[in-house]
Symmetry: C2
Subunit: 231 residues, 2 copies
Amino acid sequence: MGYDASALPDVTGLTIGIIGGTGDQGRGLAYRFALAGQRVLIGSRDAARAAGAAEEIAVLPGVPAGVITGGGNDEVSSASDLVVIAVPWAGHEATVAALRESLAGKIVVDCVNPLGFDKHGPYALAVEHGSAAQQAAALLPESRVCAAFNHVSAPLLADPAIDRIDLDVLICAEDRDAAGVVAALAARIAGMRGIYAGRLRNAHQIEAFTANLIAINKRYKAHSGVRVTDL
Amino acid sequence: MGYDASALPDVTGLTIGIIGGTGDQGRGLAYRFALAGQRVLIGSRDAARAAGAAEEIAVLPGVPAGVITGGGNDEVSSASDLVVIAVPWAGHEATVAALRESLAGKIVVDCVNPLGFDKHGPYALAVEHGSAAQQAAALLPESRVCAAFNHVSAPLLADPAIDRIDLDVLICAEDRDAAGVVAALAARIAGMRGIYAGRLRNAHQIEAFTANLIAINKRYKAHSGVRVTDL
């Protein structure tokens, strides 16, 4: 049956919240979703910083007027239909736990990669729950947690000169319908496909693979990603 | 600098041993290397079975006369320049440990994926050394161990009707020169590139990612692999 973009649900009406939207990854995703015409809310612990980041993105070339604003994390979580967690791993547990009520019933997309760095470069950190996504699922029992957008290059996302990013967003989830929504969201970024890649218990290696992509980027001077073949 | 096939070493003169060459993965790789004109030795605990598998591959379309034979694991390891470990995970430790002397000084390519299966499908097994490749490195301190060929689809490798397999072989290694030789070997199979993807401590997630590819294959009815983008 292969990958069929025409079978994806319509997500154009969804408001996308980005928790950690002032960081590189969150800001880059916010820009790309806004560019696609999606309504985007940037969240931060500091609402003023979030508003500032939203104002900077709003004036980038191609962003429709009025699609992006910023606010505090809880306010953004409450007002969004789907929420992306893009905080540093060190702040993941506390930030996610604090949003349990405002994220209840919603699709939550975790794109956090628990990595360490030493003189030999990046490596995967051991995570008690297995992965950041599983930690989020444990902290948010009433949400529909997926892992996705772990491998998208922040510099590519942020560069207005790049109008297409050819890679696949690997999605791990227990809830197939939620995975379908996330796949549709991925497809809103030109060049991307969202591919269901297994249950949450298999999210660890997708998060950890970011260490390999960093090694590849260093060796080949690239902004690498993954494309799944034969789909 | 990107990926540059012209910078790869010449490996056409190397004899490739495949330990576990009677299994699906080993047999498929043996066929593809033989098809490329590489000298191939199939190894098995049972030398007669190895010889039988080699005879079957030797008569497949396109395999040059006289390039493939079979024998016992130790004999094959001793007679080969580069040895691929393609045994089931359950037999990995004992098989590899027994070949320490015959593999000394050689490049050893581990393509074993420690996976478990239950009613929810495949999942990554915890490995004391971190990964199969690190276990091989610990058991073979005098060998140059790499992880590679973890994701190549056995059915695609084995199918004589398929003359090209478009995917990347991700290579983890401490020894960059060894990784280069393995990259050149990967490039002997039409459609494949060998990409250096980090140190051995980052091999676990590449092995474990095979569980995701199995989930993808089930969901999309595919024989999926990975292509690294922006290279």
